[in-house]
Assembly symmetry: C2
Homo-oligomer: 200 residues x 2
C-alpha cells in the first residue's frame, strides 16, 4: 500500500522535526538532522516537503487543525457562538498539555520571522485567519438590542484572541500552575457576560 507508506513517512518526518525543533530550536535543526532522526532519505523528505519551512507550516496546520475541527463541529451542531466558543475552550486541554514545547517552537519561529520579511507573512497568517474567523462569529450575534456601544465584532475577536494567546503563554511559564483549559472556559464566560451586560 504505497499510499499508506507515504503517509507514514510524512508522519515520521513531522514527529522527528517536532522533537528536534523543541530540543534544539527551529534554526539549528537542518533537513539533514530531521532525515537522520526519522531514518528517511533526503529524496523522500523533498518528495513531501519542498523546504523546511513547508514542513514547519504543515506541523502548525496539524496543531491548529485540531482546534479548527472542534470549533467547526460545535458550529455545525447548531450551537450559538457563545456555546461553540465554550466547547472549543473546554477541548483545549490537550493543546495546553503540549503547549510547553510547541509554544517554544512557535515563539522561536515568530522571532526569526520578525527578522526575515519573507517569512513574516507565513508567521502571522494563522493569527489573521483566526481574527477573521472569530470576527465573523461575533458578527452573527444579535446586536439589535444595543443601548450602549460595545466593541465591534473585530474588537471582540481581538479580546478573545488575547485570552487564548495569553493563556497559552502562561501555560508555557507555569504549566502546572492552573487548570488552563478550565480557566479559558471561565474567562470566555466572563467576557460574554460582560459583553451582554453592555448590550442589554
Amino acid at each position: 500500500m504505497p499510499q499508506q507508506r507515504s503517509e507514514e513517512t510524512r508522519e515520521r518526518l513531522l514527529s522527528a522535526a517536532e522533537r528536534l525543533f523543541a530540543s534544539q530550536g527551529y534554526d539549528a535543526t537542518g533537513v539533514n538532522h530531521i532525515c537522520a532522526a526519522a531514518r528517511i532519505s533526503k529524496g523522500a523528505f523533498y518528495h513531501h516537503f519542498p523546504t523546511k519551512l513547508a514542513l514547519f507550516q504543515a506541523l502548525l496546520e496539524n496543531w491548529l487543525g485540531q482546534l479548527d475541527a472542534q470549533l467547526e463541529s460545535a458550529l455545525t451542531a447548531g450551537m450559538n457562538p457563545r456555546s461553540a466558543l465554550l466547547a472549543m475552550a473546554a477541548g483545549m486541554q490537550p493543546v495546553f498539555d503540549a503547549a510547553g514545547s510547541r509554544t517554544r517552537i512557535i515563539l522561536e519561529f515568530w522571532i526569526q520571522s520578525g527578522r526575515q520579511p519573507d517569512l513574516w507573512q507565513t508567521a502571522v497568517a494563522p493569527y489573521h485567519r483566526y481574527l477573521e474567523r472569530f470576527a465573523a462569529l461575533f458578527a452573527t450575534t444579535d446586536s439589535s438590542s444595543q443601548t450602549t456601544s460595545p466593541p465591534d465584532a473585530q474588537a471582540q475577536a481581538r479580546i478573545l484572541l488575547a485570552l487564548a494567546l495569553g493563556f497559552l503563554l502562561q501555560s508555557f511559564f507555569d504549566p502546572t500552575g492552573a487548570a488552563w483549559s478550565e480557566l479559558s472556559v471561565q474567562s470566555i464566560q466572563i467576557m460574554m457576560d460582560g459583553l451582554e451586560r453592555k448590550t442589554s
Copy 2:
C-alpha cells in the same frame, strides 16, 4: 559630577544593548558589541553590570517600572482596583508603541531560558510578581455579596494577565491593526462587568 557621569554611562550601555538585542538578538550580542556601540570600556561595563544577564534584567526592570509606577500612583490616589487597572491600561500606549522590538527581545529571552534552567527563574520572575500583585488587588474587592462562585483572586489575576500578554503579542503581530491601549481598557471593563454580574 562623577555620580551623574556614572548614571549617563549606565544609560548609554542600556540603550546600546536594547538596540543590539532588537536587531541581532540577545544571544548573538556580546558584551564586546555593547561596549563598542556605546563607546564605553569593558571595565566600565563590569562596574555597572556583573554580566550581560544582569544588564538584561535592568532593561526589563526599566520597562516594567513604568507600568508599576502607573499602577502604584493610581492606587495611592485612592482609586478602587477597577479604576486603578483601567488607569494603568489607559497609560499603556507607550508600552505598545515600543512593543515591537521589546516584545521580540523578551520572547527571545524566554525561549533561551527554557533551554537553560539557571535562567528560567529570572525569565519567569516578573510573571509571578505581577500574578501576586494583581491577585492581592482582586482579593481586596468585596465578595460578600457573592451568590454564584466566581473565579478566585488568583484566577482573576491570571485572566487579567492573559489579556495583557495577549494584547502585547497581538501588537507585535499587527502594530497598527488596532488602538491597543484603548482595546485593553475596553477589555478590562468587559471583564470587570462580567465578574460583577457573576457576583451580583
